[in-house]
């Protein structure tokens, strides 16, 4: 027996020492008991519905609070990692990473420039050697022609007899100079060959440099990959944190959606109480003309029954078990 029933029975002058209404109501008022019990059941159901909805809302908000705590923790964890840990060793170390990459690039540029300079030098040397070789060949050719010329001069001097004696001496001297020129040109060619050998050594050195460059490039590639891996790991961690926050946000949104459905309990409770209130006013008006008889009580019962808007109210009225309201029954016309 609830407070309303007690007050109602008090107003009617009934006794209610025990929970049995019929046992203590005056015999002339027993026909009113079912209506009073309907009020009691409706109010109990409204109270139960309110309590249940508030319990569910509490559970939902506890869940939301927990999800927000997780979101905050995830944010703080990421922030802490960004400040001190591995994540933003790369982020706070972005400048360092950039410096490392710039250093690598600088080394590569220096190496390439050195190679260009070396190749230019070797090419210049090759050209010089070629010129030298051509000059030496020209000198040898001139020496051969000069020697041939001196032989002809010697023959002509012999034909001239005594008059050609002096010319023969000159021709001998020319032949000797031609031989010397030839020796010198051969010496030059020997030196050119030696220079050519030096150039080959330079080419070997350049080849070695090329190998070193290859290692340098490999090292640079590794270094760049390492930096990219660090940055990638940082980005991955941040993306993971972002995804976690996104998932938590979705759960929170779903929880809020559930809460929004539960908040509608207030409308249902209000309507149920409004119907009981109207019935109580009806009863109060009846009381003004004295205690209502069985027919009047039955009419009040029917008016209350007709005033219901929710199927659940009818079930509770008849003393049947309440059914959970189904969400979102939609009829499109």
């Amino acid at each position: 027996m609830n407070a309303l029933t007690r007050k109602t029975l008090d107003a009617l002058g009934w006794h209610h020492a025990s929970d049995s209404l019929a046992a203590h109501a005056s015999p002339s008022a027993t026909h009113m008991i079912p209506l009073v019990q309907v009020w009691e059941r409706q109010i109990d159901e409204a109270s139960r519905h309110g309590t249940e909805a508030v319990d569910q809302l509490t559970t939902i908000f506890v869940g939301i609070e927990r999800q927000l705590a997780e979101a905050i923790e995830a944010t703080m964890r990421t922030a802490a990692q960004m400040r001190s840990g591995s994540v933003t060793e790369s982020v706070s170390g972005m400048d360092t990473a950039r410096d490392r990459l710039l250093h690598v690039m600088s080394m590569i540029e220096e190496a390439v420039q050195a190679n260009h300079a070396l190749f230019d030098s070797v090419r210049n040397a090759v050209d010089a050697v070629k010129e030298l070789s051509e000059t030496a060949q020209s000198v040898e050719k001139i020496a051969q022609m000069t020697a041939l010329l001196s032989i002809n001069a010697r023959i002509e001097a012999a034909r001239a007899g005594a008059a050609g004696q002096g010319f023969a001496v000159v021709a001998d001297e020319v032949r000797r100079l031609a031989a010397e020129s030839r020796r010198e040109s051969q010496a030059i060619m020997t030196r050119v060959a030696r220079i050519d050998s030096v150039i080959l050594q330079a080419a070997d050195a350049a080849a070695q440099l090329k190998v070193r460059d290859h290692h340098l490039i490999q090292h640079s590639r590794d270094e760049i990959q390492s930096v990219l891996d660090d940055v990638g790991a940082a980005v991955q961690d941040m993306m993971q944190a972002s995804e976690t926050l996104g998932e938590i946000g979705q759960h929170t949104r779903a929880s809020v959606g559930e809460a929004l459905v539960q908040f509608q309990f207030q409308d249902r409770v209000s309507q149920r109480l409004a119907h009981v209130q109207t019935s109580l006013q009806d009863f109060s008006h009846q009381l003004e003309d004295g205690a209502p008889g069985p027919d009047q009580v039955n009419a009040m019962d029917q008016r209350l029954l007709k005033s219901y808007t929710m199927p659940d109210e009818g079930r509770i009225h008849r003393g049947e078990a309440a059914a959970e309201p189904a969400a979102s029954g939609l009829i499109m016309f």
């Binding site: 459905v261 207030q266 409308d267 309507q271 979102s328 029954g329 939609l330 009829i331 016309f333």
Partner: protein, 122 residues
């Protein structure tokens, strides 16, 4: 320019829940506490949809619907009844008076929004 929707409901919590869902979907929302207030709020103003409760003080939702449809400028404004009322006879009256949909509370906001999307004027 956002489309505007009038909510007519005596329950502030329902107006709040419907309003949150509609504003979140980008609609402008007007609120009225009963049918009479709904008619006052409209006052010639164009709305793209009206969502109305049925059981309200002063002027209930079905009377509001009937009064609304008497006004030429709102004759073709779609109305969705959003109510705890599940009585077949009331639903039939709502249909005959020109309601386009009848949704029984409690409602899920996403389903309510799906219905709104179908009904709202272009």
């Amino acid at each position: 320019m956002s489309k505007s929707i009038l909510i007519v409901d005596d329950s502030s919590s329902v107006r709040t829940v419907v309003g949150i869902a509609l504003r979140g979907a980008g609609y402008d929302v007007l609120e009225a506490v009963d049918g009479a207030d709904g008619l006052r709020q409209l006052d010639g103003r164009k709305v793209h949809l009206i969502i109305s409760d049925v059981n309200m003080p002063n002027m209930d939702g079905l009377t509001f619907l009937k009064e609304l449809k008497k006004r030429p400028q709102y004759k073709f404004t779609p109305v969705m009844m959003l109510t705890t009322e599940a009585d077949e006879s009331k639903i039939a009256i709502g249909k005959s008076e020109g309601a386009r949909a009848w949704m029984v509370k409690p409602f899920k906001p996403e389903l309510m929004l799906a219905a709104v999307t179908k009904l709202v004027l272009p």
